[in-house]
Amino acid sequence: MALRLVAEHVDRDLRDIMSEEKIAGPWKSGDRLLVAVSASPYSERLIRYTRRLAASMEASWIVANIELSRSLSEQEQTRLTRYLALARQLGAEVISIPGSDIGEALLRIARQHNVTQIVIGKPLGTRWASFWKRDPLHWLMRNSGNIDIHMIPADESARPGRGESIEERLARAPWQDYGAALAIAAGVTGLSLSIFDYTGYWAVALFYLLAVVLAATRLRRWPTLFLAALSAVLWDFLFIPPRFTFYISQFQDFMMFGAYFVIAIVIGHLATQLREREQSERRREERATALYRFTRALAASSDLDEALPKISALIKNSFQADAAVWLRDESGLSCHAAGTFKPSSKDESVAVWAFQKKQSAGKSTDTLPDADALHVPLITGDRAEGVLSVRLANLPTIEQRELLDAFAAQLALFVNKERALEESREAQIARQSQKLQKTLFDSVSHELKTPLAAMTAALQQPQPDCAELQQAAHRLTRTVDHLLDATRLESGLLQPVREWCDPAELIREAVAASGLKDGAVRVNIAKDLPAISVDSRLIQQALGSLLSNAVAHGKSEQPIEVSAARDDSMLVVSVADHGPGLAPGEENKVFEKFYRGPRTRPGGLGLGLSIARQLVEAHGGQIVAQNQENGGARFSIRLPIGEVMRLPSEAATA
């Protein structure tokens, strides 16, 4: 077992090295199998065989689908999709690449992925078919180098009827293209007949050739070849002397005709091949772009609620289809509101099936293919995070299915990441709240019990000490007030009721409410401060907190300084004391809940400043603490002045 692990490890490193150093494989280490599959019904056998082989060798395996230029029938597509899904389910890595030559494409994949053995099915095709086509098997065997090739004969008894009936093929034939080919042939023939007298019949061949080349850029393969053959026949019949016979009298005309025929066919073939390759490249690029945009949309989103509308829009864009996303929750599966269609109860049951079985279901799959939508489970590791449902108008092509699967995989990763983040956030919050709860409990019980003890002691004396009682009651009231304020702020019930206030009046009222004696506070308010729109009660409460904080920390012989001035677009109200000031690094901490500094005198919950900050922030303002140059701390409330007050106009009377 240990040896196996080491071998795998070495293999992984090796692949990294190869991709870094651009070594074309294979570099024999562990075994890796590659099997080529197509829409042929034998593919399933091939997949299962390779899987057994891979299991017996404990090797990883790759299933490759070479997208040939030939377009697949609906039936074939469904089959191929099923095979690829089967391969994924059995643990294979699935690769789809376009290519015109199976052998070459397979070898390319094999070299890129350091494959050691290739499994392919032995074709049942008749021998003459491989006579004029390059036989991919033989080519592969000749060129595979040190890669082993397994050839699996098709099981004759398992041979189904012809994959496609003649009628089906005819129904699928591009009749429009054939029509176009005929029209082009007729047009060129007509033109040639009219100018034939001036140009001679050899030039006509060039017209025909030109038509074939141009047609090849538009028409499909067989109509192009049909046009090539037709034009050769027409040229022979209508132009080569003796005219209106297929007979060719002169040897050089015969040569010319032969050359024309070959060139026309080859050019037609090459041009269509080129176009098809270009088309498939374009499709791949579109797919890659779509996937890129998809991943980018996910990367740019901070949470699911932001990401899902974006990806619904992307799917709408790429597939012209509506999408809905189901996510796992406590009760099972629920549809996220961001989808572009409202799933029916039937959709829901199919989605639940896909979720539970971790297999795609619905349209274009084996399970409930009659459903309106295709449901792809979002799988990460061994669990499903949800289901992506897409309501497609038509059956999806292989490429669309693959793209959807890729979307689903990316989305699954994102959902998984979000879930993990959320869990860790929740855990952190739980830890913090536990800590906070303990602090709260400790300080609250202390703050409540101390004045109660003082009261009890004062009452037990023969002459109850009224001053002591009053002080204790006052402290108790303040503690309860702070706790209530903090709770109210926490619950989010606080909604500032803004009204226009004169800052000077606001500050004087707050100072008066704090109960400070005239000598204990010095108020210095700049003239002509503009009116500000705030909730006067809340701002006064915040100021009150700063004032009682200054009383607690300042020296009693020097007055507290309250000042107000305008700083650009802000109103700054400061409360300064002449106490010992803040310890270094305390500037922000003092506003934290239950924070009690090293220089704090005993008593108090450590809530007042935190409440003040929340009150000020509810108005879009800031609160800052700093030490003054000449000693003592200065707390400043900065409130945005905002717009200028406009009183409704009225006439002066009385």
Partner: protein
């Protein structure tokens, strides 16, 4: 015959405290601990003043207030806790005369009680109001301090008139707005404080420490005529 006071509060300690204070002021005190009994008590005793707690076990104190206002004009003093500005405002707007906040001092309570009773004496239209050398003549619509006439805008005069007619009583923001600007007055809410400031600057001896128009934070204003 002694004036009757009815206390509706579910806290035994508070009731006992109030009873002591009110009996010292020569009231005859009846108390209940729930709203239903309280309404019956009020109907039977025809009290001169009612002290009503807003947090009752069987029904909302506000509902008690609304029901008794259907058939009784007896002044109601609401007992409330701090941080319940909305409750206080709702009670005042539903017809309570005034409120006191627990914990309250006895002198404060008695002062409020007197003010609440005073204003319900038969409404002889106050035509002239005097405070120090400030004279407000509501018939002639003239405000003077000493020999000098004070010029007020229409709004300021309306405000002053409203305050003068309700001395010692807290007026909620909503009440003031409705009285001065009519039912659709919410837009003026944010300017009310500014009008008050302007009025203070004209009628207060020292506008920085107002003695006549006091701010009741979060609730409204009180005109201290004493």
């Amino acid at each position: 015959m002694k004036p009757v006071a009815v206390i509706i509060d579910d806290e035994v300690q508070i009731r006992r405290l109030l009873r002591v204070a009110l009996e010292a002021e020569n009231y005859q005190v009846h108390e209940t601990d729930n709203g239903r009994d309280g309404l019956i008590e009020i109907a039977n005793r025809k009290p001169a003043v009612i002290l009503l707690d807003l947090g009752l076990p069987d029904m909302d104190g506000l509902d008690v207030l609304k029901r008794l206002r259907e058939w009784s004009e007896a002044p109601v003093l609401v007992l409330s806790v701090r941080d319940d500005e909305q409750g206080k405002v709702a009670a005042l707007d539903s017809g309570a005369e005034d409120y006191v906040t627990k914990p309250f001092s006895t002198p404060e309570l008695l002062a409020r009680l007197r003010a609440a009773q005073r204003k319900t004496r038969p409404e002889e239209e106050v035509s002239i109001f005097k405070s120090g050398d400030l004279i407000v003549d509501l018939t002639a619509r003239v405000v003077t301090r000493g020999d000098r006439e004070i010029k007020l805008t229409a709004t300021e005069y309306a405000l002053l008139r409203l305050f003068v007619r309700h001395p010692g009583r807290v007026l909620t923001h909503r009440y003031i707005l409705r009285e001065i600007w009519g039912p659709k007055s919410e837009e003026h809410r944010q300017y009310l404080r500014v009008y008050i400031t302007h009025l203070r600057q004209k009628i207060e001896v020292d506008p920085t420490t107002p003695c006549l128009i006091k701010t009741e934070s979060g609730i409204g204003y009180r005109f201290d005529a004493a």
